[in-house]
Symmetry: C2
Subunit: 326 residues, 2 copies
């Protein structure tokens, strides 16, 4: 069996995760990592060729799918449209407000080059989006709720680190248990931002810093914390390293609805993840399989998880799927 | 907007549920119910034309999708291949061992007639199958577990009713809480049939019947009860009517796995349903939308939930899906 040849673009937590996940999928192989750093400075978790970003064009015909592991803010909007001119792609673009524009740009370039790009792949957007669309279709009258956590938000952790006097920080997003219970009871509540999640911050302050001021600045930070009940714990650098070095995450999608005869239904999808980036990576690899197969059938342009039939994701043949999984 | 015109074939709990669910989907209308009983004897929950099964051919061009609401044992294997010669179909065929042969037969007739049939639609097979394929693809190394209940098993209730001296009965399948906990802990246990589910039976005995013998016959019944820890409660007819007249069901699909770096992941999908047939019906209606759309794109033959991209199920346009659900 000819393996699906992957390229990894960008080698942070996500790129490392993709390399690891590929080893768990016997139909995959990683051909090379592409980086904008000095290739010699990149230490891969498994030995593999590390190339300059610009060398990618030399791999046309040698890589079936490029998995884009850069960030949504600046990397992906530039890289996706460049790379789809040469390769099929998978990415985890997650800036929600910019998804329509991103889709249009990627779709246009893909249609022009004859390549296929799967965008916004991962668990949210991704598997959670799938839960939202399947649940909504299965039960047209109802309410869908998404909760995140307990898990580390990198964006919120970074925001705390920018506060003067802060050395390091870790922020956990936590769903409010009583809100979950209200949703599960079928009450279909209207929940405010504050009612759905709390924010727990573990902060290492510089010596002599004004802790009261730091706490106040965090709690009042607009967009990030002002709309939430926020708890700030000051801890030592050692404690942060010891107890908060992982990147766990998770969450739930719940739909509560009823039939026209007033019978109640509850649908719930939940994730508990020891490592957010390693789980996301594992999904990216499965979608690389789908992209490879759909492109082989002649599909090009941009697709999201909504456009991809589940059969394309599975290692099993369609006959095996019906026999073993249906 | 032209509505999708549905026909309902067979009018039991499922057919009634489809009629109800169609009222919750503004793009659907039910044109007629087809029955092998005397049409005059069928009381529909909402007024609609009731026709003889044989009159179906007069509706060619007037019905877009027939939803087959008969049983898997004898109705569907005969009806599906007959009806797909004239109409697109959706069915809930769930005799697991016969799925491959059923697929082949339906696919052959559909390819010949140019119609499309979605088979084995519902929650299991159906939504649970989707959880199994998505979870397995997202996490190639791991174990998937399916639990059913707490809910009424019609087949097991019927089996009890066939025991001599039994007037009526209701059987609940119940997942074993300790097994669920072991799975959720990431232990990846090998679970026997007995370890996964218990069976609770509520039995109305005829006056003067030998209760000890009835209980023994139930508990030792091969296939149905012998492999389970079974509890038998004798109750009055009034109590059965009062407390056990609903048809609730539900269940869970859980996948527990890990990354190549040994980080653990848990994926869980669960359903709690006040009415099993009304929920199944609601899914059948959503898949009728998918069948209508895919057939309009030229697709014919047989498909399962695995072959249908989620976008086809949603009432929303693809742009709205990306904006609101992704």
């Amino acid at each position: 069996m000819q393996k699906i040849r992957l390229g990894i673009v960008g080698y942070g937590n996500l790129g490392r995760g993709v390399q690891l996940a590929a080893t768990q999928n016997p139909d995959m192989e990683v051909v090379a990592v592409f980086t904008r750093r000095d290739p010699a400075s990149v230490n891969t978790v498994i030995p593999v060729k590390v190339e300059k970003y610009e060398s990618m064009r030399d791999y046309v015909g040698k890589v079936d799918v490029m998995i884009l592991c850069g960030g949504s803010a600046t990397d992906l909007p530039v890289q996706s449209v460049e790379i789809i001119r040469m390769f099929n792609t998978v990415d985890s673009f997650d800036t929600h407000a910019k998804i329509p524009a991103y889709y249009e740009a990627l779709n246009k370039e893909g249609k022009a080059s004859g390549k296929l790009g799967a965008m916004s792949i991962g668990w949210d957007p991704g598997l959670f989006s799938l839960a939202r669309i399947y649940f909504g279709a299965a039960l047209n009258e109802g309410s869908t709720y998404t909760f995140w956590g307990k898990g580390v938000s990198q964006g919120h952790s970074d925001a705390i680190r920018r506060v003067e006097g802060v050395l390091d920080a870790r922020q956990y997003t936590v769903p409010v248990e009583s809100a979950l219970q209200r949703v599960r009871s079928g009450e279909n509540p209207q929940l405010s931002t504050r009612e759905k999640h709390t924010r727990e911050c573990y902060v290492v302050a510089k010596e002599g810093a004004d802790l009261k001021r730091i706490e106040k600045e965090i709690k009042e930070m607009p967009n990030y914390f002002a709309d939430y009940d926020t708890t700030v714990h000051f801890i030592s650098e050692e404690e942060l390293k010891k107890n908060h070095s992982g990147i766990p995450h998770g969450g739930l999608v719940i739909r509560s609805g009823k039939s026209a005869a007033d019978n109640k239904f509850l649908m719930e999808f939940s994730l508990k993840l020891d490592s957010n980036p390693e789980f996301t990576s594992s999904i990216l690899v499965a979608y690389a399989r789908a992209v490879y197969r759909m492109h082989a059938e002649g599909k090009c342009g941009a697709v999201t998880a909504f456009d991809i039939a589940p059969k394309y994701l599975s290692l099993l043949s369609e006959e095996e799927q019906r026999k073993q999984l249906l």
